[in-house]
Symmetry: C2
Subunit: 306 residues, 2 copies
Amino acid sequence: MSVTLCECFARDGLQHETVEVPTGTKVKLIDAMTAAGFPRIEVTSYSHPGRVPVFGDASAVLAKIKRRGGIGYKATCPNERAVSRALEDFALGHGATEISFLASATESHTERNLRTTRDGQWVRIEEMSRLAGDRFTIVGVLSVALGCPFEGSVDPGRVVEDAARFAEVGATLLTVGDTVGTGTPSTVRHLFRRLIDEVPGITPVAHFHDTRGTGLANCMAAFDAGCTHFDSAFGGVGGHPTQISYGQGRTGNVATEDLVSLLEAEGVATGIDLDAMMRLSECCENALGRQLDSKVARAGLLPAAA
Amino acid sequence: MSVTLCECFARDGLQHETVEVPTGTKVKLIDAMTAAGFPRIEVTSYSHPGRVPVFGDASAVLAKIKRRGGIGYKATCPNERAVSRALEDFALGHGATEISFLASATESHTERNLRTTRDGQWVRIEEMSRLAGDRFTIVGVLSVALGCPFEGSVDPGRVVEDAARFAEVGATLLTVGDTVGTGTPSTVRHLFRRLIDEVPGITPVAHFHDTRGTGLANCMAAFDAGCTHFDSAFGGVGGHPTQISYGQGRTGNVATEDLVSLLEAEGVATGIDLDAMMRLSECCENALGRQLDSKVARAGLLPAAA
């Protein structure tokens, strides 16, 4: 058994950090992720540099990282302008290999997070997809797929429809976001079984937030349901946009160290060099200048699978 | 579906705390646990008051708490002297209803933690059991049942043998301790299935530490395997003895708030009043004068089961 991880520290992790991380440090961290064996790495975002200054160096980071063949280097694209920039970098020979487009499973969250309607966002996604052509792996990202802070529970049928819609516009991966950490093992298992059964053209990726401590339990439930792709971030950083009020609490991603350690202990191959991962964990803490939230970073790895 | 929780804040939680909690505060917290509907409460320990001063008030706490019928009030008994004290309190009409005896699944851990051999400890347990007679529910506690810091992995067959041995000396509950947090969903599932199948005379209790972030995932695995009894502590406090070097890291119990919230969200009845639990969570933080490690305490409860 093996799974494919996407390390999200450099984008999702940094998006809402107040600490400034220099371009050179980002490049070093991403190069170390490549060397450690992460098969997919979320590198940056083509957000408007005025609005999200932390990614003002998107093209510079993509130009400077040392790449390995077969590894996915992802950049998020919030709009058509972002796709144009991705295309420019592609033309210059240092493009992302994956770009992601964002939708939300509910109207209220779409309105608050994307400032449009779901219909409006789908028109935008179709246009972005047309622009991108076949130059990139397209990753659909669906927020609040396991619960919405404004509308409560989300019909899995809606998520299945959105998955099919993403597949129609050419996405081959679907990041299933438990944005506010309200998924549970049974809702996760049910949703992932449906996605795998009903939309075979797109591979679901578990992107879970540990808001209520259920991150790892939910990852294992997704794995049980057949999920093979997981997102995580070193030290559990990142998570939902802080400008939207979702209630209190840390809402970070599942910590890469804890997820990889658990998967490997369960005999599930991640392809990641565990010693290199533990060194990277320290580098990420140094980059942010504080202790982060991985428990394995403090306690050490789980024993290897028998 | 329903499960039986044991709240361990007042004993396991306080055992290694440096903050002094007055007897009156302990009594108030335990009374609030009773009122909130916890079916089992770990109240105190008959440890030597010179060695573990925090439980010097064991008899006073047991005398002052307001009890409800059917609720288990547990006191740990490390040795024969402790059982004699439990008997004295019983004779005075304010005894514990449950007493627990401790063993370790490995020789090395027995030596370091109990300063004897496994054979020596079993002789002691037999003597304690004889002394106690039939006045109490006897709870066997088995440390390092899912991995030992000195010997590594632990043969589930050994745990099954110890469970049978505890049943022979009259124990009806077996606290299965993942002392250093090295259990994983698959090792937990395997062990609990074997215990339930092979030692029907004793009910296993999942007592898991969240050292590597796997606490909730392991609880859900135990539940899947048929486990109906769980230990937890408010704020995730407590855990293994700090005087024994197990490596770094917080090694607290599974947080009651997070476990109860998850079980209830999964449609598993705990009988606990969730609002009362959230108020108690704050009281426990106030008692220790710091923010504790429950995520639900920060983020709020998971949505109720559909």
